[in-house]
Amino acid sequence: MTKIIIGRYIPGSALIYKFDARGKLLVTFLFVFAIFLANNWPTYLVATLYTGLAIMGTGLRAHVFWDGVKPMVLLILFTSALQLFFSTGGTVYFHWWGLWLTSTGIVNAIFIFLRFTLIILISTVMTVTTQPLAISDAMEWLLTPLKWVGVPVAQLALVMSIALRFVPTLFDETLKIMNAQKARGADFNSGGLIKRSKAIAPLIIPLFISSLEIAVDLATAMEARGYQGTSGRTRYRVLSWQKYDLLNAGAFVVLLILLKVLG
């Protein structure tokens, strides 16, 4: 009955969904650096437009993105406030002890605010339009260079995908054990901190044992199905570049050029 959503993926079929996960992950990653090229109004306008287009390309409603920004709002406002009151230069409107309110400060605060918000929005675009499994595959691809220095990237990727696969299973298990203990009169929701942390034992211990059981069963099943480590394995799931990815890359290159030219 429980169908929980892992990560923040929201099923859809708009343009951005068609982009390859590797492309999206890479662009998200590079965007964080690219945004530092923005240093004046025109460049921030271009970056904002780019982000706006990306959001439109998801075909999702605005509140999805607000949900992405919400948890970070305080941090963004705090950082912006630091810029606002501690930057000097330009016209001074107000000065009291170490606090300055200057024209530069105001502009810097707005820029910082935009920088943070745009980064969060772009990564939200990536996470809501890409399945966790595809993100995990894309990470493996991005980490490929580490293979040469001996990092077991393929194993890590397998571990990650199995972990993702078992999130709903463990979630169901938790719910089931919680209900069973509630039926035996356990109370998880009242009392002080000590009472509550004691009350958690009837939940945590069975869950730990269940997880161990799953791990043992899974290891046996994997061995029976011929798993001998990742060397010599072939791959069924292969990410493949499509014509849409040229659009993704093209748009990002245009962004870079504009930021450079206008900056």
Binding site: M1, N179, A180, A183, R184, G185, A186, P206
Partner: protein, 285 residues
Amino acid sequence: MSIKFKHVSYVYAPATPFEQKGLDDVSFELKENQFIALIGHTGSGKSTLMQHFNALLQPSSGEIALAGHRITPTTKQRDLKTLRQQVSLVFQFPEAQLFESTVLADIAFGPKNFGYTDAEAKKLALKWLEKVGLPKSIANKSPFELSGGQMRRVAIAGVMAYEPAILCLDEPAAGLDPKGRHMMLELFKAYQARGHTVILVTHNMDDVADYADDVLVMEHGRLLRHTTPSEVFKDRAWLLKHGLGQPAASEFAAQLAENGLPLLPQPLTLTALTHRLVAHFKGGE
């Protein structure tokens, strides 16, 4: 006193894209001290219904009256602790709920939560350890050293130890061997005979025929029928249409009838079938 459901509906994840109807306008009244079977397909709403008996789920609309409690969508959970003591739930594979360091402590967990003193709880635990057919010698062992079948019994003892008036069980014998399965069902039948209500969720139609007085049939979250086993197993075409099986004895009798040997009334159990065949061929009753 009875168990009464009045227009009970339940909606999972309301107002989200994942909204789903669990129960749809379910109304029935059960007599107490009976053995009631709850049958239906996987996903028919049996488990959802079961979790309403002790208010682990509360109705989205409608009203439930049982064991002196009234449960509505707005009933507060903290008012339900005494209900949980009177109506107890055993989930599928209940051995997953064991957590204490000893068998005895685990069985005593429920009684202690419901206000028994340590000494009383321990006494009840010992009593039920034996009642479920386990030797006293394992009382101080870790439950995790036991075999799967023994763990199952410890878990069930832990739920019966506070002697609830109503005991609901979801496939309690799943995965047990025939002997273990038989012992388990006899235990519940005996509990019912001593003046308790037993509600058994099951896929096994032979168990329905052998033990139940009353049957609830669920489909797509709705109550399809509420009747006696002999009524529910009478209409083979209806059962087939709803994807439900028949007890083996009824199935066999139906084959006999098709080939020109009808036995009436229709036998539901092996004993009834043999009895009727012997009566038919030997003449005497």
